[in-house]
Amino acid sequence: MTPEQQMAQKTRRSFLALGAGAAVVTAGGYWLASEAAAAEDGIPPVLRSVLGFNERMVRSALYSNSNRAATFPASAIGKLKVNGDIGMEAAMDQTAWRLSVAGHELTLADIQSLPKVEETIDFKCVEGWSTVTQFAGARLSDFTAKFAQGSEQATYVGFQTPGKGYYVSLDMPSAMHPQTLLAYEMNGAPLTSEHGAPLRLVIPVKYGIKNIKRIGRIEYVNDRPADYWTEQGYDWFAGL
């Protein structure tokens, strides 16, 4: 073959390969889109698998309860916006509120009997914004040790609002993180209704979607409880 013929052959073969690659990528894109359209949560199962793989990688290689979320001085506190009221649409009689856990019906005073922990952390929304906010309440680990002793052995913790309109579930290590609080105060004042009075979850190792407001029930279980935003297509782990 002359050099010209060799060049023509190399060109033909390589452009065919590039075209085949482009066709595969395009077909892959269409396939993903059709998988997304068919999925109830809008997420193709293959992407759910990768999110699960990422979770396992993070939990085995990175996650540690000695990794703490950064804390800030009071001067850094911003105005935390109210981003949702799912499960809190109806007004609630605060005095009638009780927290169901492990056969108990607890009052706010029961939770306030635990050591009070204050933390000023950067509250991070899954949307991408964040606001430095101060919270105070009881550690979920202290709460569990007192009111649901032995439940630390379970795999998951589930939370629900009183009407079950909003619900989240957590992996146990994140739930037992020392910065994970059942909070009843925000920025030095009792929690307001729109921020989840009388009791909300504050978990700085997770996005805001896991920080359930107006908790009505907590359960410690081995089968993963439902999670509101996971059903809407978000990563279940949602860890930071």
Partner: protein, 219 residues
């Protein structure tokens, strides 16, 4: 008499053509995520010259209300982006190809001459190897930027578990800002890159696909 001359190694071409659709998909899925909180702009104080992005842009591209799948795509494709980039860096380092890529001392002065020449000034081009001085700086820069995108991405992805990295980049909000502007820089690079490839002509483009070029035999 013309002879075949190898211009780009097979490995380089693979890395390049894998990276192209992956980077596009990363930018696209990144846009789905950015839409949910889009604070960046060009402006000063009260004056905004350009907001990223105008509502018409979102309407035209249809990227709104897709945060969940945007995140799922971004955190899956990031693996391919990272592994392909890492493989490229290792290959370039081990094969010695880096010698033709990394800027030399003289590259910075020469790059200015290349830029002026390309801009239409009648300045002779300095002698060059596989890449000219401007290409050495740009192509090495884009690799460094790829690394920074990966690091700033990880800093936003796990700001507690990788808190040291997030702090190193100036905190959570700065890391997101850096990640965004690196991406805008890719878009700028891409536009100039395409323009230069069109100007350089068919044989140059063909060599990035086929790997070879036909050149006059040197005596």
């Amino acid at each position: 008499m013309k002879v075949l001359a190898e211009k780009h190694k097979l490995a380089t071409r693979w890395f390049h053509w894998i990276n192209f659709p992956i980077l596009m998909a990363m930018i696209f899925s990144g846009l789905l995520i950015y839409w949910a909180y889009d604070p960046y702009r060009i402006g000063l104080g009260q004056v905004t010259l350009f907001h990223f992005f105008p509502s018409g842009f979102y309407a035209m591209t249809g990227v709104g209300q897709k945060l969940a799948i945007g995140m799922a795509l971004h955190f899956a494709l990031a693996w391919i982006f990272a592994l392909n980039g890492l493989a490229y860096v290792i290959y370039t380092a081990v094969s010695g190809e880096w010698r033709e890529l990394v800027p030399e001392k003289k590259s910075f002065g020469e790059a200015l001459r290349v830029a002026l020449h390309d801009a239409g000034f009648k300045i002779p081009l300095p002698p060059q190897g596989r890449y000219n001085a401007a290409q050495r700086i740009t192509y090495s820069g884009i690799v460094v930027m790829g690394g920074l995108s990966l690091l700033s991405g990880l800093a936003i992805y796990k700001p507690v578990q990788l808190g040291w990295l997030t702090a190193l980049l100036g905190g959570y909000e700065w890391a997101r800002w850096e990640h965004f502007w690196l991406t805008m820089s890719y878009v700028g690079f891409f536009l100039i890159h395409i323009a230069q490839v069109i100007r350089a002509g068919w044989a140059n483009f063909r060599s990035m696909v086929a790997g070879y070029d036909l050149i006059e035999e040197s005596k």
